[in-house]
Symmetry: C2
Subunit: 292 residues, 2 copies
């Protein structure tokens, strides 16, 4: 693989930022990777793990001379971060993010964008329930989609960025913000919200029952606790910033849940079996799509 960008700056060296640093360096996609994180606890970790070529706690310093700037921070702080770094970015540089919501990110960042840079929002569909720099790994993006919102950015700039993320093993897909937020509301945000809720329900049980729920946690609940262990600040910001699409999907979900609840209460076996058979088919489609 050849160098795509001479210098890239990664602002926020958590699970995603660290994985980009590792993936890009392994594939030789960047001449120099500078990491930046405002959290003083991160610097020694990044150093210990040898994640980047250089590190600073000052975002303005980090973006100087960078050809690509990746904001890998919770979506709630993207507006302020963009306001601070864009004036310091060099002419023709590319600015992207990795946030799980896109309408809010565009709303918050757009006002600070000036004509000397290319602002290209994106979202890698990859992650784990772990967070922090030590959670990162080079193969995180392999075989995973990386959604890109080209908007007004020139084709050659978009294509070069796609070369970069493809170099880390990702599959590129272009999308617009409205559609992105709707798809993600159902595939990711609502499942996380529900997992958080059911684990919260367990937290509030009387202590003996709660202990046994933990002890005997069968596959269903155990999977939910894994999802519900994801980064609290990142997910708080996701729900606040994709509230419209999440609330709409939640409304549909609640109606469907009420339907099943009523079927259980009235012992309507046929309704349950029919619905459970239909959901089984979706799993087959996902396996066929190679995403299982």
């Amino acid at each position: 693989m050849s160098v795509i960008y001479d210098k890239i700056a990664i602002i926020g060296v958590g699970l995603i930022g660290a994985s980009i640093a590792l993936g890009a360096r392994r594939a030789g996609l960047a001449g120099h990777v500078v990491g930046c994180d405002a959290d003083p606890a991160v610097a020694p970790e990044v150093d210990r793990l040898g994640l980047v070529d250089s590190f600073t706690t000052d975002a303005v310093e980090a973006v100087a001379d960078a050809d690509l700037v990746i904001m890998a921070v919770p979506v709630g702080v993207l507006g302020d971060l963009a306001a601070a770094i864009i004036p310091a970015m060099k002419e023709g540089a590319v600015l992207t993010d990795t946030g799980s919501t896109k309408r809010s990110v565009i709303r918050d960042v757009d006002p600070h964008v000036s004509g000397h840079i290319h602002w290209l929002p994106s979202h890698p569909l990859a992650g784990t329930e772990h967070s922090g720099p030590a959670a990162g790994f080079a193969k995180l993006f392999e075989g995973r989609f990386w959604l890109i919102l080209p908007r007004e950015v020139p084709e050659e700039v978009v294509a070069r960025f796609e070369q970069f993320v493809s170099g880390m093993g990702s599959v590129c897909e272009r999308m617009d913000a409205d559609y992105h937020d709707k798809v993600l509301a159902l595939t990711s945000h609502l499942p996380h919200l529900i997992a958080y809720t059911i684990v919260a329900t367990a937290v509030d049980l009387e202590s003996q029952l709660k202990n046994d729920v933990i002890r005997f946690s069968a596959s269903g609940f155990r999977d939910f606790t894994r999802i519900a262990a994801s980064d609290p600040v990142m997910w708080r910001d996701v729900f606040i910033n994709n509230d419209e699409a999440v609330l709409e999907m939640l409304q549909r979900f609640s109606e469907d849940l009420s339907y099943l609840q009523r079927a259980i209460r009235w012992g309507e076996k046929d309704k349950l079996e029919t619905l459970f058979s239909r959901t089984r088919e979706i799993r087959r489609s996902i396996i066929d799509a190679g995403q299982s």
Copy 2:
């Protein structure tokens, strides 16, 4: 391992029944394993896979001379099955089941029990989203709990059965039916109900969006589809037969979900972050308990 029962009969050779046959034979826990399944499609599969020492489609024939009879069928048919086979069972034989609900199983089977046998309900906390004889494997129960409801059964009979399931690698735990159904309602039944619901919500989306939900299914939704691919008849029976405990947990869940929904609608960031941080701790408890 030495032989615990000279002859065991497994009624219902699906995922669980096949796994017991394989696990018991591998560990040498039974002198002879007879399999029985009413589904005509099962016999050739059982034969092809070499799961049992002998096979019959007649449950009454299967239980003759058996020292242990395991009913591994959906909980909805246990009453009728017990009525048919108990009179044909030999003096002092043990009858057990593997159902995911225990109050309903006891309610349905108890009326048919006579004094010449020992009726010992049980429930292995193990399974996958696959079903049928080909889904079975010998290690399914390794390190997993097997819940046993001793009730009035003599201690030596219970202890011998515990030796049998321990021989397959399970961890035995005694429990009563009310408590079992409450714990399972939250650890297993409610998560399955919710997974079925969210996947059903996706099924009803307009087709383009539905296709993209499948295509871009991120980790949250993908995990749910796996759970929602579980056996429809088995789960229909579980919900119908543990309706009381499931509806109670569902009520608590709905209240907690409304709380989060309201917090999202009103942008109450602190409430979300606090709750998400608490759920993260539950995951740590499960990892500490060695059940992750």
